[in-house]
Symmetry: C2
Subunit: 321 residues, 2 copies
């Protein structure tokens, strides 16, 4: 068949979330050739999950196997790159330490590399998105929680234990808001995740009885609802993002003074608020930097389509492996 | 003369401080064969400084030049590794951007590498001290200011601009104590440097009129004086270190969740307080970590003799270059 064209090789990306697991087959240009998903929480045991994933993915693997599949990259909450294990992930159905990378490698007969979901997003951004060509950047995911992936000297920062980049759990307001899950007071995630924004919105609407935020049913009071009212000129809704952006900007300034990145890339549902979140974040980030860092660090939104980013990010791991 | 024995090669370390500049010739085992110093502030221009440094060092360079000198490593405040320039260092007599690495290389005819003083200390610790064999650690220098050097994936973290590791300027108490030089509110340096400890001591002795701290003359109220009274059982003096250690420990927890180091190494005059500073720091560090990081990260004092550390650290740069 002649010489194998390496650039035509493919990678598999798998993103394991609490509700859904998404998978796809990706080429070097970041195009997803085939994709699909299964329900994570339909599988009470890890063995049944691996079996279900294999059955679902077999048709698209068979279809593409003639080209050559370089590897499987997998992103999962609490995924450890060094050990290939998911460790005590509170939002997944399986308890304890799960050697999932080895289980997938064995079942599929394809090498599998694991990392946590935020690191996978950073890999995707470096390979296909806003961080192409960068050697030093920080990815912040603003979703239900706040995750992060840090690249330094061109390498993903895993640290000694493989758990580097838990920036959502750094304390930004000592003695502040209690986190619903960790119990810590004043962590970044408690304020700047979608969950945190909903808490802020509840607090501020109680203090501003004329705000249209008071007309939103409690179960619908999320980042999107606040954004929509900000668009309609509701001052309190805008204040929710100003408050969030101030805390996020202060935290980003601290992160910059740690690793001096070229850029910080924001990703996740919260960034749909656009300038409402970007402007106060940038302002407070700059205000809290030493002069030697000011007006140098790019603060940008992700360039990856959110629906595909998780698969692309996970697949990027396979190229690196 | 036969084959050159590389292990007998020597390196020069130069540490530029606001008052004194120390230099020494160092072998691979971290032994200082010759050393000396000149007064930094006796040289109003950088040209006269380079000339003075050369005249002072020439005898020991000539004496050792038969062995082979691999290079000159230099540590200086605001020293930039990438550009070899000292940039706007507030405590040095020379203004603006000083291309000191090139000036020294040209004058001495020996390649010269520059970094900031805290990074140099980290290099020294990695080459000769408590961080030997480690690929991920953070060095915190607690002196007049608070400096830091970060090693990740076995590499010194310089970041995109060469200024990574300004952890002393991260904000740990938003809206808190104003920094005497940067004007920022609540930075780590404002609390945990020797200068910050003296401020805390003044504040606490005013609130505790029976403390022996009130018998110390204002100009002598430094970290050492507080330590000596803590040793004598003065509760307020102990409280100064508990307060300092709480803030330092909280900050270290945040740093750990950034880069997941194997160890944090504390260095500088403040560590002479021993357990008075170590115990509260460790306690609050552990209390503020996510469980996945708890009881894993070593918190230790530097193993380098303080008088030699700056020269050793700077010299370590020359081996790496």
């Amino acid at each position: 068949m002649g010489i194998l064209d390496l650039s035509s090789e493919l990678a598999i990306g798998i993103d394991i979330g609490g509700t859904n697991t998404k998978y796809g087959i990706v080429n070097h240009r970041g195009e997803i050739l085939d994709k699909g998903d299964i329900k994570t929480d339909a599988y009470p045991t890890i063995e049944s999950f691996i079996e279900g994933l294999y059955e679902a993915m077999k048709p698209i693997i068979d279809k593409n196997s003639s080209v050559g599949i370089k590897g499987i990259g997998m992103g999962a909450p609490n995924g450890n790159y060094y050990t290939g294990t998911i460790e005590y992930a509170p939002n997944l159905p399986w308890r304890g330490v799960i050697p999932i990378a080895k289980m997938v490698s064995d079942k599929f007969g394809i090498p599998c590399t694991l990392t946590n979901d935020a690191n996978a997003a950073a890999m995707g951004e470096m390979m296909y998105g806003a961080a192409r060509g960068m050697k030093d950047f920080i990815m912040i995911t603003l979703g239900t929680g706040v995750g992060s992936g840090i690249v330094a000297n061109g390498l993903m920062l895993y640290g000694h234990d493989g758990f580097a980049g838990e920036l959502g759990h750094t304390i930004v307001r000592p003695g502040g808001r209690k986190h619903w899950s960790t119990g810590a007071h004043g962590s970044l995630e408690a304020y700047c995740s979608a969950t945190g924004i909903a808490i802020t919105a509840k607090k501020l609407r109680a203090e501003n009885i004329h705000s249209a935020l008071n007309e939103v049913a409690e179960e619908n009071l999320d980042s999107r609802a606040v954004f929509e009212l900000a668009e309609k000129g509701d001052e309190t809704a805008m204040e929710v993002f100003r408050y969030t952006g101030q805390i996020l900007g202060e935290a980003l300034a601290n992160f910059i003074m740690f690793s001096s990145p070229e850029a910080i890339i924001l990703f996740g549902g919260v960034i749909k608020a656009g300038d409402y979140i970007m402007k106060p974040t940038k302002e407070h980030m700059e205000n809290n930097l030493l002069p030697i860092f000011q007006n140098k660090v790019k603060l940008v939104f992700s360039e990856l389509k959110e629906a595909d980013a998780a698969i692309l990010g996970a697949s990027a791991l396979a190229w690196e492996a």
